[in-house]
């Protein structure tokens, strides 16, 4: 699904050079649920941005479905993000002036050939999947944190992406809400075969995924299958 080869990311100002990622090599096959852990500032989010084509590596190659994306221009990258990738953020990134339904429909606004009726149908289906079909007309400010994150997941789902990148999706939630969100992600992975890469600080959540990659100071320090994953029940 996605392969990173010798990825290096350096942030450079006039005076300081900060290495965010150094020599990262990863292959994430289709259908895998991977968690990424590490202390703050170790490069987890940078890794996710590069995987999500929101940022470019300073050096190295990113391949999606075997195709290197370095030759793609802004418009083509946007198209790939729209077609293949869904994002879930720690702070939800919902637009407060749009209803739940409109927020969920957002990715399809940038996809040509989808009618308004079809968009509506897909949005309702996505909301049903996350258990929020009763809240379509609500606004984000009228929802709890867990509900907001479920809206964000529905938004990530609507385009039926092959890959979901989740940046600390349970980071702002209490443990019960966190569990709920995690269960939704696990269901998506197991039932729909969606590839998920999740950045988390929570060891328990990470252990529920199939594979755990640890980062430290911009370098990949471990990459192993978890033991608990096979026995998890959703």
């Amino acid at each position: 699904m996605i392969t990173l080869k010798n990825i290096e990311k350096v942030y450079q100002t006039k005076t300081i050079e900060t290495v965010a990622l150094h020599n990262v090599n990863l292959h994430i096959p289709k259908g895998e649920f991977v968690s990424v852990m590490g202390p703050s500032g170790c490069g987890k989010s940078t890794l996710l941005n590069i995987m999500g084509l929101l940022d470019e590596p300073t050096n190295g190659i990113v391949e999606i479905d075997g195709q290197p994306i370095s030759r793609y221009r802004d418009k083509e990258l946007a198209h790939i993000r729209n077609q293949k990738i869904g994002f879930v953020f720690q702070s939800y990134h919902l637009i407060n002036d749009l209803s739940v339904l409109d927020n969920v429909e957002l990715p399809l606004l940038y996809r040509s050939g989808t009618s308004a009726a079809e968009t509506r149908h897909l949005a309702l289906t996505a909301l049903e999947k996350v258990g929020l079909s009763a809240r379509t007309k609500h606004y984000p400010t009228q929802l709890s944190g867990g509900q907001r994150q479920r809206v964000a997941i529905a938004r990530a789902l609507i385009g039926q992406p092959e890959l979901i990148l989740a940046d600390e999706p349970t980071g702002n939630l209490d443990s019960v809400m966190g569990e709920e969100i995690m269960n939704i992600l696990l269901t998506l992975n197991r039932q729909d075969g969606t590839t998920i890469v999740m950045v988390t600080h929570d060891e328990n959540m990470a252990q529920k995924t199939e594979r755990l990659i640890r980062f430290f100071d911009g370098q990949q320090v471990s990459d192993a299958k978890t033991t608990a994953y096979d026995y998890q029940k959703v």
């Binding site: 989010s45 940078t46 941005n49 999500g52 929101l54 940022d55 802004d74 418009k75 990258l77 946007a78 198209h79 993000r81 729209n82 077609q83 994002f87 953020f89 702070s91 990134h93 637009i95 002036d97 749009l98 409109d102 957002l106 990715p107 606004l109 940038y110 996809r111 308004a116 938004r155 385009g159």
Partner: protein, 392 residues
């Protein structure tokens, strides 16, 4: 996407209220000033109905009250003026000659209809001096000497209002005394007031010196040959002053008088345009500032849109689109107000003037909105999505 933009702006109507109000007022001011400009420009391109080039107006003020003596001198002056080789034709008129700062009007009635119309007293050769064309009927002539009625030539505007579909020729219009005016001709246009003034109903009344024995006319129009200048003016005034000792004489070209009249229309137009320009500049700066601020507040939303598949060009178009939608809200209110002017026929101005002004004002507001949104939108499109998402 358009539906999405309308929804977004509508849902943000509270925070956008001031911007919409600003656009609404800006549109109204622009509409008012443009209506004035369109009105004047349209009038400017309409025919005047006469040729004022190479026409001079000699204004004469006698030093005595003796009408008989003054009339005798006036006839001598006219005789001499006609005698100059440089002069093609002359005609007496009253003080409301073309481009003069004077007006005279009279109430006319025909059947049930009554209306005010400008009255122009002119001699028979006035049509030659001003090179006017009669489109229907005839101009004044010797055949009118024996008429029992007062012959008049009317303009088309008067014909349409007083006689509507009827042929006006030969029609009698009662005067204040027991006599009547009789229509002998119609001219298509006559706009002596100014190039920027609309045509008003008017009629020419004949000056026939033998008949108007007790009247004195102090304005003489002369059509001179092309190229006549100050030299001839001095020579003419000197000779005519020799005939009319003690009279005050003043010569002005109709071109100069036209320019003076034009200034009166242009000055308020220019002043209002400048004031309007400053107002628009203020609105533009305000709009630019607010848009800039709004966009900087929406970094996270921009990042999100990029993440879900918007290319930077789509973000650019979205912000331009939002401003256009915002302008549309202001304009819908403004147009709803402005459309009342043509519907209610305010100020008796042709509806087309308002419609043209409305169209230009709408176009200018959209241009202004695009102009103000251009740079902030470009900045929004240039925002790095990863950075924007990180800012939340």
């Amino acid at each position: 996407m358009i539906r999405h933009l309308f929804k977004l702006i509508w849902n943000r109507k509270r925070s956008n209220f001031l911007l919409i109000t600003e656009i609404f007022f800006c549109f109204l001011v622009l509409f008012a000033v443009l209506s004035l400009i369109v009105y004047n420009v349209r009038n400017y391109y309409k025919p005047l109905g006469f040729e004022h080039e190479n026409v001079w107006m000699l204004t004469m003020r006698p030093d005595t009250d003796s009408t008989a003596l003054n009339r005798q001198t006036l006839e001598q002056i006219m005789q001499r003026a006609k005698g100059f080789q440089e002069v093609e034709s002359v005609a007496l008129t009253n003080s409301n000659a073309p481009f003069a700062f004077s007006q005279m009007n009279n109430e006319l009635s025909y059947g049930e209809k009554k209306m005010m119309a400008n009255e122009y007293l002119v001699q028979d050769d006035f049509d030659k001096v001003m090179r006017m064309q009669v489109s229907h009927g005839r101009w004044f002539g010797q055949q009118d000497n024996a008429s029992h009625h007062y012959p008049i030539v009317i303009n088309r505007a008067l014909q349409q209002k007083l006689f509507e579909g009827e042929d006006p020729l030969g029609k009698l219009i009662p005067r204040n005394d027991s006599s009547s005016y009789q229509v002998v001709g119609v001219v298509e246009h006559y706009r002596p007031s100014s190039e920027y003034t609309a045509e008003e109903p008017g009629f020419f009344n004949r000056i026939h010196l033998p008949k108007n024995e007790n009247e004195f006319y102090g304005e003489l129009l002369l059509r001179v040959k092309p190229g006549m200048g100050v030299e001839f003016e001095e020579k003419m005034v000197k000779e005519l002053s020799g005939i009319s000792k003690g009279w005050t004489m003043e010569v002005a070209t109709l071109e100069k008088m036209r320019q003076n009249k034009a200034k009166m229309a242009k000055v308020p137009m220019i002043a209002l345009t400048i004031i309007c320009g400053f107002l628009i500049l203020n609105v533009a700066l305000g709009l630019f500032g607010v848009l800039w601020y709004n966009i900087s507040r929406r970094n996270s939303e921009i990042g999100l849109r990029r993440a879900v598949g918007a290319a930077s060009s789509q973000v650019y178009r979205q912000f331009i689109g939002e401003v256009l939608v915002l302008a549309t809200f202001g304009l819908v209110l403004g147009v709803a107000f402005a459309i009342q002017f043509p519907l209610l026929q305010v100020f008796e101005v042709e509806s087309v003037v308002y419609f043209i002004a409305l169209g230009i004002a709408v176009g200018l507001i959209y241009l202004l909105a695009i102009g103000c949104a251009f740079y902030p939108s470009r900045q929004a499109a240039a925002i790095h999505p990863a950075m924007a998402l990180h800012e939340e």
